[in-house]
C-alpha cells in the first residue's frame, strides 16, 4: 500500500478510541471481579477487528473489490463505529462497577459513621456521582457514530474524564475504608457497653423491687401479728 493511501486511514481516531477503550475494559475487569462479565464491548472489538482485516486484505491486494478505495474507507468507518460503541459500553460498565464498589465499601456502615469519617460524602461525593449518572445518560443519548472526527473524540474524551472523576471518588472512599471499619467497631463497642449498662440497671431495678416487696410483706406480717396479739 502506498503512503498516500495510508494517510487516508483515520488512524488517530482509531488509536485514540482503542487506547481509551482498553483502559476502560481493564479497570472494569479489575473492579468487577466478583460480578459477571459484560461481553458487549468485547464483541464490538471483535467486529472492529474483522472490518480492519477486510480493509487490510484489499489494501495489500489479497482480496479484490470493485471500488477498492471506497470499500477500504467504508471498512475503516465501520471499525470506528464498532470501537465507538465498544467504548461507550465499556465506560458504562466501568461506571456501574465503580458505583457498586463504592456501595460495597459504605453499605456495612451507618450514616453517622460515613458522615464522621468522610464529611464530604453526603455533601459533595454522593450528589456529584448522582449528577454524573445523569451526565452519562445524556452523552449516551447524544451519541451518534456518524459525527465528525473531532466531535466524536470530544465526546469520548468527555466520557473518559467523567469516568476518571468517578474513579477518583472511589479512590477517596477506598482510602477511608480502614477509618470506616475502625469507627464502626467503636460504634459497635459503644452499643454493646450501652446494652450491658441497660441490663445491669434492669437487674438492679428487679432487686430493688424484690427487696421493697419483701420489706413491705415483712412489715405487714409484723403489724398483723401485733394486731392479732392485741
Amino acid at each position: 500500500m502506498c503512503t498516500n493511501e495510508m494517510s487516508k486511514v483515520p488512524w488517530v481516531k482509531i488509536i485514540n478510541l482503542y487506547h481509551n477503550l482498553r483502559k476502560m475494559i481493564i479497570r472494569a475487569e479489575e473492579l468487577g471481579i466478583k460480578t459477571d462479565d459484560f461481553l458487549q464491548p468485547v464483541l464490538e472489538q471483535r467486529d472492529a477487528f474483522d472490518h480492519f482485516m477486510r480493509a487490510k486484505a484489499v489494501e495489500i491486494g489479497l482480496d479484490e473489490k470493485e471500488k477498492k478505495e471506497k470499500y477500504i474507507e467504508q471498512q475503516y468507518e465501520k471499525v470506528i463505529g464498532h470501537l465507538y460503541r465498544a467504548f461507550f459500553d465499556a465506560a458504562d460498565w466501568l461506571g456501574v462497577t465503580i458505583k457498586e464498589s463504592i456501595l460495597d465499601i459504605i453499605n456495612p456502615h451507618s450514616n453517622e459513621c460515613i458522615k464522621s469519617v468522610i464529611p464530604t460524602y453526603y455533601t459533595i461525593t454522593k450528589p456529584r456521582i448522582i449528577k454524573i449518572s445523569t451526565e452519562i445518560s445524556d452523552i449516551r443519548t447524544r451519541k451518534d457514530i456518524g459525527k465528525s472526527g473531532n466531535s466524536l473524540l470530544d465526546e469520548v474524551s468527555q466520557y473518559y474524564d467523567i469516568v476518571n472523576e468517578l474513579l477518583a471518588f472511589l479512590d477517596d472512599v477506598l482510602s477511608h475504608n480502614d477509618a470506616l471499619i475502625e469507627f464502626s467497631d467503636k460504634e459497635q463497642k459503644e452499643i454493646t457497653e450501652k446494652d450491658q449498662k441497660r441490663n445491669r440497671e434492669k437487674i438492679i431495678n428487679w432487686i430493688i423491687a424484690f427487696l421493697t416487696g419483701s420489706i413491705i410483706t415483712i412489715i405487714s406480717l409484723y403489724l398483723r401479728s401485733l394486731w392479732i396479739s392485741n
Binding site: T35, D36, D37, F38, L39, Q40, L43, E44, D47, D50, H51, R54, A57, G61, L62, D63, E64, K78, H82, R85, D92, W93, V96, K99, E100, I102, L103, I106, N107, K126, I129, I130, S133
Partner: protein, 70 residues
C-alpha cells in the same frame, strides 16, 4: 491467491457480511455452556458467568437505585 478465490461464493458473502449490534440473551448462555467443551477462550464465558443484556440493564438500575438510597 486472493480471498475471493478461497472457496465457494457463499463463504465469501459470509466474510463480507455486516455485523449488527449483538444481542446477548439467555440462549447465548445456554449455547456457550453447551459448546464449552470445544471452547478455548475465557472460563467465565464458557461457564456462563456473563450478563445478558436484560440482566445488565437490571443490574445497572439496581445499583443506581441502591446508590441513591444509601
Amino acid at each position: 491467491m486472493g480471498l475471493s478465490n478461497m472457496g465457494e461464493k457463499q463463504s465469501v458473502d459470509m466474510l463480507d457480511r455486516d455485523y449488527k449490534p449483538s444481542e446477548i440473551t439467555e440462549k447465548t448462555r445456554v449455547i456457550s455452556n453447551r459448546e464449552s467443551i470445544r471452547f478455548r477462550g475465557s472460563v467465565r464465558v464458557s461457564t456462563g458467568r456473563f450478563f445478558t443484556d436484560k440482566e445488565y440493564e437490571e443490574h445497572s438500575r439496581k445499583i443506581s437505585k441502591a446508590f441513591a438510597a444509601k
